[in-house]
Assembly symmetry: C2
Homo-oligomer: 144 residues x 2
C-alpha cells in the first residue's frame, strides 16, 4: 500500500472516530442543547433569521425533522416564528433574546473546550488544520 493510501486510510479512520464521538460529547457537555439544535440556532444567528425550508436544504434534513426541531426550540423559547406578510405560507424563524443568550453560552463553553484541546498546537499547524478541514468539507458538499 502506498504512503498515499496510508494517509487516506488514517484520515478515514480518524474522521469516523471523531464523528462517532461528537454527538455523545456534545450531549455530555451541553445536555440543554443538542448538537443539531445548536447548529440550527447558530445558523439562525448567522443568517439573522431564515425559513424552515432553508434549514432543511442547508443541512440535508427532512422538512419534518426541521419542523419538529423548530417546534422544540420554540417551546423552549429560543426561537420565534414570524409569518411573512408577502407569502402567508412561510414563517421566518428568528432567535429570541433567550435563544441568543443560550447560544452564546454554549458557544463560549465549546470554544473553551476546543481551545483547551488545541492549546499546545502552534499557530501554523492550527492554520493548516483549519484550511484542510475547510477544503475537505467543501469537497464533500460539492458531491452531495
Amino acid at each position: 500500500m502506498s504512503h498515499r493510501d496510508d494517509s487516506v486510510e488514517t484520515i478515514q479512520r480518524e474522521l469516523t472516530a471523531f464523528a462517532r464521538r461528537a454527538r455523545a460529547t456534545a450531549a455530555r457537555m451541553h445536555p440543554e442543547l443538542s448538537l443539531v439544535s445548536f447548529t440550527l440556532l447558530a445558523h439562525l444567528e448567522d443568517q439573522r433569521g431564515c425559513r424552515a425550508t432553508d434549514l432543511a436544504a442547508h443541512y440535508l434534513l427532512d422538512k419534518s425533522t426541521v419542523s419538529r426541531q423548530v417546534s422544540a426550540l420554540e417551546r423552549l423559547g429560543f426561537v420565534e416564528r414570524r409569518v411573512d406578510p408577502d407569502d402567508h405560507r412561510v414563517q421566518v424563524l428568528h432567535l429570541t433574546d433567550e435563544g441568543a443568550e443560550m447560544l452564546a453560552n454554549v458557544t463560549a463553553s465549546r470554544r473553551v473546550a476546543f481551545h483547551e484541546r488545541l492549546a499546545d498546537w502552534d499557530e501554523a499547524d492550527l492554520d493548516r488544520f483549519a484550511s484542510y478541514l475547510l477544503r475537505y468539507n467543501a469537497a464533500q458538499e460539492a458531491v452531495e
Copy 2:
C-alpha cells in the same frame, strides 16, 4: 480576535459540520450497515475478537447499547459468540465469514469514496491532514 482564535473557530465549525453529516452520509452509502455497526465490526476484526464490555469501554457506549447492537449483528449473521471456557459469564465475540466479507465490501467502498474526495490533494497535504487528525483525536481521548 487573533488569528489563532480564528483558526480554532474554523476547526470547531468544520469538525461540527462534518460530524453532523457523517451518519447520514454513511447511512446513504451503506444502508445495510450503520456507522456504529461498521465500527464495531471493524474493531472485532482488528482485535480478532473481544468482549462486549471491551466494545462498550472503547466506544464509551452503555453496555445495554452494545448488547443490542451485537444481538442485531448476530441476527444478521455477521458476528458469533463463543462462551469463554475459563469464565462462563463472558462471551467472546468474533466475526463470521459473512461478517468479514460484508466488512470488506463496506470498507472497500468507503475507501473509494474517501479516495475520490481526496483525489486532488497532494501527498504532503494528505500526510499532514492525517497527522493532525491523529493528534486531535489522541488529545480528545485523553480527556474523556
